[in-house]
Amino acid sequence: MADLEFERQALAHIDALYNFAMYLTKRPPDADDLVQETYLRAFRFSHRFQPGTHLRAWLFQILRNTFLTFYRVRERESPIAEDGVPEWDVPMFHHAPENDGTAMEAHTDLERAMRHLPEEFRTVLLLAEVEGLPLEEVARVMACPVGTVKSRIFRAKERLRGLLRDYETK
């Protein structure tokens, strides 16, 4: 696949990737960085993409892997400084306080509940229910068996229902 053609096809999914990144990082600047890094990696390793397979799922996989890589780095680095932020730099995907004006604001209880789900549950619901990816593709993105995906969807919905009930009772 020619570079320009690959870029054109990949950039057609930028909105879906950005939406996914927003629910993962919860902050627009971090979502920007995550999507940009995802595309740069995709362009750099475009020769590894197998034409005929699902490009969107491949991009979601790169995005999630990138997020987990930086997120885990942040998780290891944060205890170094007292305020959780290393003094030499602000790490990517640092969880800033939500009232700092840059965090994504929840407009509905559903959105609020999604933000409180663990990453595995959030991802599986976003990919399977929001983006409509087949379970096989979701399994590929999350690097787990299809059975695990089904189990996570079930448990994610259970947790989501519980959160929504809590919001309703409050």
């Binding site: 570079d3 870029e7 950039l11 930028i14 909105d15 990737l17 950005y18 939406n19 927003m22 629910y23 979502a31 920007d32 999507v35 940009q36 595309y39 740069l40 362009f43 750099r44 994504m104 407009h107 509905t108 209880d109 559903l110 959105e111 999604m114 619901l125 229910e129 929001v130 409509g132 969807i153 079930f154 919905k157 989501l160 229902r161 929504l164 009930r165 309703e168």
Partner: protein, 234 residues
């Protein structure tokens, strides 16, 4: 709303997620930023770096090797002499004579420097004006060069060198001029009369190459040949 949650089956919840959950759209500048960030490495062809490296290596090798490569020189002694004489005449046309000496006052000095004695020498007449005389070093031999300018502005150079062994005047190029039979050779836009005078190789070169000029050039040869006698001094 409570009704919705009470009856929220998996299917209903799935529909709510796909239908009600807010979707975020990528800001337009993000696409531009991505393309800008990806452009520099993508637009440089993959083959460019190795090609440039190979070209640079080739040039370096050429610079190192070329000076030590044996030069292609003509096998024929006459051709070698001719090339050297043409170069000397062209140098004179561009830069002038290195020394401008007055004949015959400079003859002793010329003989000492060139190894060629000139018991008789053509010092010019109403058609050919003497310009300069100087020692030269051509084909690894010392010799003498005398420069003239004719009334039409043509520069002529007379060169006398010790004749190398094997130097033979090519018969097909010989032209009868009075009692002499010099050869007329052409090279690089110049014409030259070539002859041997005992053990000395003589050349009279000019840019007179057209048919009319060659006739005049014959007269100039006759004037120089009749009144110039080079001999090895040592």
């Amino acid at each position: 709303m409570s009704d919705r949650f009470d009856e929220s089956s998996d299917e209903t919840l799935g529909r709510r997620l796909s239908g009600e959950l807010r979707r975020y759209t990528a800001p337009p500048r993000l696409r531009v930023t991505i393309l800008d960030a990806a452009s520099p490495p993508r637009r440089r062809p993959a083959w460019l770096a190795p090609l440039l490296a190979a070209a640079a290596t080739t040039m370096l090798v050429a610079l190192v090797v070329l000076p030590v490569l044996p030069r292609v020189v003509p096998a024929d002694p006459v051709d070698r002499y001719m090339r050297a004489v043409v170069s000397e005449h062209a140098r004179t046309l561009m830069w002038g004579a290195r020394h401008s000496e007055i004949l015959p006052a400079a003859l002793p000095w010329l003989t000492q420097e060139s190894g060629i004695a000139l018991p008789q020498v053509f010092v010019g007449d109403e058609r050919l004006e003497f310009v300069a005389a100087e020692p030269v070093y051509l084909e690894r031999q010392r010799g003498v060069a005398i420069h003239y300018r004719d009334v039409d502005g043509h520069m002529l150079t007379y060169i006398a060198l010790p004749a190398a062994a094997g130097l033979t005047i090519p018969e097909p190029n010989r032209v009868q001029i009075g009692r002499w039979r010099p050869a007329l050779l052409r090279d690089s836009g110049f014409a030259a009369w070539v002859w041997k005078q005992k053990d000395v190789a003589c050349f009279l070169i000019s840019d007179m190459v057209s048919a009319d000029d060659v006739e005049t050039f014959k007269e100039y040869f006759a004037r120089v040949r009749a009144t110039t006698e080079p001999v090895p001094a040592y």
